[in-house]
Symmetry: C2
Subunit: 95 residues, 2 copies
């Protein structure tokens, strides 16, 4: 196991902005503009954070007209759901 990229992976989603983006993309793919509107975050913040998610293998992107459409990698959903299940079971924190 490559410890460093392991760490990168978790850094990628250990942040409010990127958590919110991932949550949105779990519903459906979206452009930067759409993500900005739905999240309320400003554009450069979203772009910077999408780049991080892309580099870490969470999402990929393709052009669709003027927009760049970002999608979650297919198995990410199931990984995130497994983690969620675990959290519900073992979490000790109220927040």
């Amino acid at each position: 196991m490559n410890e460093l990229s392991y760490k990168m992976f978790f850094k990628a989603i250990s942040n409010k902005t990127r958590c919110a983006i991932i949550k949105l993309l779990m519903k459906r793919p979206g452009s930067v503009t759409e993500i900005c509107q739905k999240s309320g975050f400003e554009q450069s913040r979203v772009s910077h954070n999408l780049k991080c998610l892309e580099l870490c293998g969470f999402v990929n992107a393709r052009y669709k007209g003027k927009n760049r459409l970002y999608s979650l990698h297919p198995e990410m959903s199931s990984i995130l759901k497994a983690i969620d299940k675990h959290l519900v079971k073992y979490r000790r924190l109220s927040a």
Copy 2:
């Protein structure tokens, strides 16, 4: 899904010290002293970080003689392995 604890979960393993501790505990349970020896990290660093991992539901602990024995929660291994598989497949970063 609780976004906040989701974030906490990932913060927990997005750090070199805690990654290393988890890696050790994936092999077998261990006391603070053992983790210190194997990792080379000093004691208070290990204790502080184990506490974080405990709060976030990665590990639990029980007393065994003078020592406190830390173990990884059982399904963590399988979650971590699924993530590892994903990383190998999609990672774009060399580090």
